[in-house]
């Protein structure tokens, strides 16, 4: 086991290093000079040397490989650079937005659990009933529906038509809890349905598998009541693999948060990243990509380890 973990760590680090390089290359492949574009857009500048000077201040005049190593060293020292478009420290901008995005993630996970797990269990217990059929198609629907369309439908129905929820925006929870909850209700639901669909299917198949096991039959044969069988004997083994999938859905959540934050005008990490791509705000794009991939990597790592722990065969295969 120990060896397996060490091997996984080495792999993960390798992947991270590769991801960082890929990120840097991709970001620098973006065409255009952000400084010139931004300065020309905002001020009537007729002097190119000033643009050069500002560029030099951001270190963008050096050779790309020098920039890469300087950025890398600073990044791991905790200095993620200065935003080209706002002049603020990227770390400060980042940490200000992390709680916002985390709130969305927590909310989305709650939605996913609340919707996905009961649906999955119900489907498994009433296999082949018409409700099972309905839930299965609903879960397929949940996985497939594009985030932006779901968002538009919800906004139209609840904010424009019924006018019971605000269409978009964000207020910090500690500033106005009620307003905050009202505002995150729709975005978290949109993010949650993606996971909920997958979760429901996974729970269903996991339960079906466990229910077919011998010890469940034995429990039933013992004359235990159905409820007891399900919740005392079946639930626990069925839920263990489900817990791991929650880790895997993390990556999907991050991807979804980009568009959700844009559509609901939520000042989170995803929105910052998106804006930065368009403004060619290199430090922000780089930081966002690395943090996001690091997140996914850690989650994958945890899942791998859990699998390895649960199923000794995995250790040998990988």
């Amino acid at each position: 086991m120990k060896q397996y973990i060490i091997r996984r760590i080495i792999y993960s680090l390798l992947i991270l290093a590769g991801a960082i390089v890929i990120t840097f290359i991709m970001v620098r492949l973006l065409p255009g000079d952000p400084i010139r574009a931004a300065m020309q857009q905002n001020v009537d500048l007729n002097d190119a040397s000033i643009v050069e000077e500002v560029r030099a201040r951001y270190g963008l005049d050096r050779p790309v490989h020098v920039q890469f190593f300087m950025w890398l060293i600073d990044f791991f020292k905790g200095d993620w650079g200065t935003s080209l478009s706002s002049g603020e420290k990227v770390t400060a901008m980042f940490w200000r937005r992390v709680p916002v995005t985390l709130e969305l993630f927590v909310g989305a996970t709650i939605w996913a659990w609340v919707l996905g797990i009961p649906l999955g269990i119900y489907s498994a217990l009433n296999r082949n009933s018409w409700l099972d059929a309905l839930f299965t198609s609903v879960s397929v629907f949940g996985i497939s529906i594009p985030v932006f369309w779901e968002a538009i439908i919800l906004i139209y129905f609840f904010a424009v038509f019924l006018q019971v929820l605000p269409p978009s925006g964000y207020v910090a929870f500690f500033e106005n809890p009620i307003e905050n909850l009202k505002l995150v209700l729709m975005p978290t639901f949109v993010m949650g349905t993606q996971s909920a669909g997958g979760l429901a299917r996974y729970v269903r198949s996991s339960f079906l598998e466990v229910l077919g096991k011998d010890y469940i039959r034995t429990a039933r044969a013992k004359g235990l009541r159905e409820k007891a069988v399900i919740f005392r004997h079946a639930a626990k083994p069925a839920m263990i693999p489900v817990v791991t999938i929650i880790g895997l859905s993390w990556g999907g959540l991050i991807g979804g948060s980009f568009i959700v934050e844009l559509m609901f005008a939520i000042p989170g990490v995803g929105r910052m990243g998106l804006d930065a791509v368009f403004a060619r705000d290199f430090p922000i794009v780089q930081a966002t990509m690395v943090v996001v991939s690091l997140n996914v990597l850690i989650m994958n790592f945890i899942v791998d380890i859990t699998y390895g722990y649960l199923d000794p065969r995995v250790r040998l295969i990988k």
């Binding site: 255009g32 574009a37 001020v43 007729n46 269409p167 925006g169």
Partner: protein
Amino acid sequence: MIFPKRVSIGAVLLTIILASTLFAAMNFFVHKALAQDEQSEWVWTQKNPKPSWWRWDEKYYPAKPVRGGIYRTAASRYIGLMNPNHWPVNDWVSMGNFYEKLILTDGNYRSTVPFLASYWEYKDPVTVIMKLRKGVKFTDGSAFNAEAIKFQIDWIRDKRNGAWSRAWLAPVKSIEVVDEYTVRWKFKKPWAGFLGIMSNVPGYVLSHQGLKNDVILRDLKKAQGQAKRLKRKLAKGGEKAKKKYEKAKADVDRLTPMAEGIVSLDAWGVGSGPWIIEEAKPGNRMKYKRNPNWWFGRSIGHPDMPYMDGVLVTVIPEPSVRLANLKAGKIEALHIDKSQYPLVKDDPNLNVWITPGNHVTSMVFNHAEGPCKDIRVRKAISHAIDRKAIIKGTQFGFGIEASCMYPAIHWTHNPNLKPVKYDPELSKKLLAEAGYAKGLTIRGVMGNDQSSVKLGQAIKSMLAQVGIEWKIRTVDPVSGSDANKNRDYDMAGGGWAWIYDPDLMATGLYHPDGGFNYGRSNNEKAIALIEAGRTETDLVKRQKIYWELEKILYENYEDAWLFWYVGIDANRKVVLGYNREMGMAGQEGYFATHPGWFKDGHN
């Protein structure tokens, strides 16, 4: 005629008597006000007479100002750096809350309103004498005087301070202190744009103490860096480095205590304006409190100015959310998007103002290569565009058909020019003459924001009707800037926003030195006029030059100018004190001198 003759003569007489009494009374009050505060001296000269909106009586606004209340408004982005000379500058509007300019512009965007500079005069084309307002103090207690201005200008011009606005002060040779409130400017060459620049970024007066602090911080940072580097060298055994290291170390030791407790102007703006920063939460909000000692209010006998207790600027990036906040009464005023107009026009709680602005939207041609070198092609394109339909279809009806580059309200616009007529038949004829009877394909670049895409599509379909296929690439601003630089287009979207001094735009677009030209336009007559405009210091003569310039460009179909901007603002009706007529006539000058107030002293 409704009245008999005699009565009407009486009425006229009466009016004259009344008017003169009023005038006398006003004079009396103004004199009294002036007497209250000896330090103020408003220098209105015969050349630069007092404008019509320079008044604060009932004619200005019927209700009496009330003190109190917090004015809440929204910004789309937060000011990253609060020193406008440092890049990036994200929010010009908030800067105006704490910094004031030397010279303000009037309703025609002419720099004529003396503000922190009370008087100026060209002694000769390369020398300007500038008198400064007396009795002004920055909100950190340091004094505003000739020394402060000289320090600021030298600070901007000093490369070490990294001020991007340095480019705008390139013609300055030197600035000298004549006496405590007078400076003498010397230019390298005759420079007419000087006044316009003094109404722009270099003209924002920053706290003297604040700039001095910035210099300390700058030197300390540099010394620290040097010391660190030299220490490493020293460890390797470089004897030479020792002396240098000791010097750097001494600098660090000397500057460290001085830098204690200092906050850079980048993080905390200090000026002489009506508002003082109270709280700055990056990315979230800015809170200002009232400056109780605002010099301007006292100088005209209204010491209760500014009337409100404070200003709160909240950052709300999304336009729809900003509007929702306005409608819910959570903010007081907002500049709104044209598409949102139907949502505010019937709101009983809101005043909606539609005002022309000083931006122009145009299509720029590549004169250096491709089919648009040919004037017949440019003319055909210009005549193929239905400007009225564009304004109606893409601007929700808010826009003014443009005839040339400077908007109609700008003092340099030539009023004799008429917008190019929509005439597709003429276009077809011209194209046939130019040898494109079978059709013409040209390349183009437009921004990928929604309004540019829309505009591009509308024009594309208009051009298609005369047989021109305009192949547009829609790109983000950064790639667009690249395409512009590489002249990778035949016709591209363009325009200019915030046109103050006419030279910046004229040079930028039509002079080889310009930052936006990149060799695309090279009209010799226009270039000669632009160069003449830079040096002509007489306002009337200078205006004539730009009229002529516009005419040359217009006749050469240099670009296709589409429309001038019209802006929509909305404010809650509880905010009083806006006189539209005066506001239009005075623009920046009016807004800086006529603060509003709440009807009942609270919001």
